[in-house]
């Protein structure tokens, strides 16, 4: 069974204190790994898609990397407006071939203190 585990569950950082969020996964036939940001009461906001080990993508203070077993979301010099829950999801072909299975992690709640 596909599994996605995110750690830590919650992270509190001082403004400017860089850190990394982890998303470890076990899946057969990975078609893509997605990172999202979700603010309270809102839908997830898409950040990145990674397809294969070694791939990296950057957007402002965020950088996502992918290995065969995990993905990291690095946050460099975070600001209070980066406070949100960050979700990771993997998409893989379902063993039955019936659909492309999407499995989400439960997220990391990030709080950046001024």
């Amino acid at each position: 069974e596909d599994q996605v585990t995110q750690s830590p569950e919650a992270l509190r950082l001082q403004e400017g204190e860089s850190s990394s969020l982890n998303c470890s996964y076990t899946v057969s036939g990975l078609r893509g790994l997605f990172w999202y940001r979700q603010d309270p009461g809102k839908g997830p906001e898409f950040l990145f898609t990674l397809y294969s080990a070694g791939e990296e993508k950057e957007k402002e203070r965020l950088k996502a990397t992918l290995t065969k077993k995990e993905s990291f979301l690095h946050i460099t010099a975070p600001k209070p407006e980066d406070s949100a829950t960050y979700l990771c999801a993997v998409q893989a072909l379902h063993p039955s071939g019936g659909y492309q299975k999407v499995t989400f992690g439960t997220g990391t709640k990030l709080q950046v203190i001024p």
């Binding site: 893509g32 809102k42 839908g43 898409f46 990145f48 999801a89 659909y99 492309q100 989400f104």
Partner: protein, 117 residues
């Protein structure tokens, strides 16, 4: 572009009532999804569609039905509401190229908060 819109934003149902959650996207995306998000849990895929006229079950389809008569619209139907269906429902869309690569932006709607009493 308005992106993905969902209606209603909030709804309270009694056990056994029915309702349809509406979802519309104006980006000509072929893939559309319905998820539910329970407190402290990850999003669970209910149904998805790869294009007009084509739908398939996700991880938690029981108690729900969908249709996709147009590229833009992907309504979710609850026939006999149960307390276990209390959740926040999100619709999403993304485009997949013939090569299998996804366009780099997936959009989620703002969600529908449903309570079944």
């Amino acid at each position: 572009n308005a992106g993905v819109t969902q209606t209603p934003k909030f709804r309270i149902l009694k056990i056994g009532q029915s309702m349809t959650l509406q979802c519309t996207q104006d980006m000509n995306h072929n893939y559309m999804y319905w998820y539910r998000q329970d407190p402290g849990m990850g999003l669970k895929l209910i149904y998805y569609s790869v294009g007009a006229g084509i739908t398939d079950k996700g991880e938690v389809p029981n108690g729900y039905n969908v249709s996709r008569s147009t590229t833009e619209d992907f309504p979710l139907r609850l026939e006999l509401a149960a307390p276990s269906q209390t959740s926040v429902y999100f619709c999403a869309s993304i485009h997949q190229e013939p090569s299998g690569r996804w366009t780099d932006t997936q959009y989620f709607g703002p969600g529908t908060r449903l309570t079944v009493l």
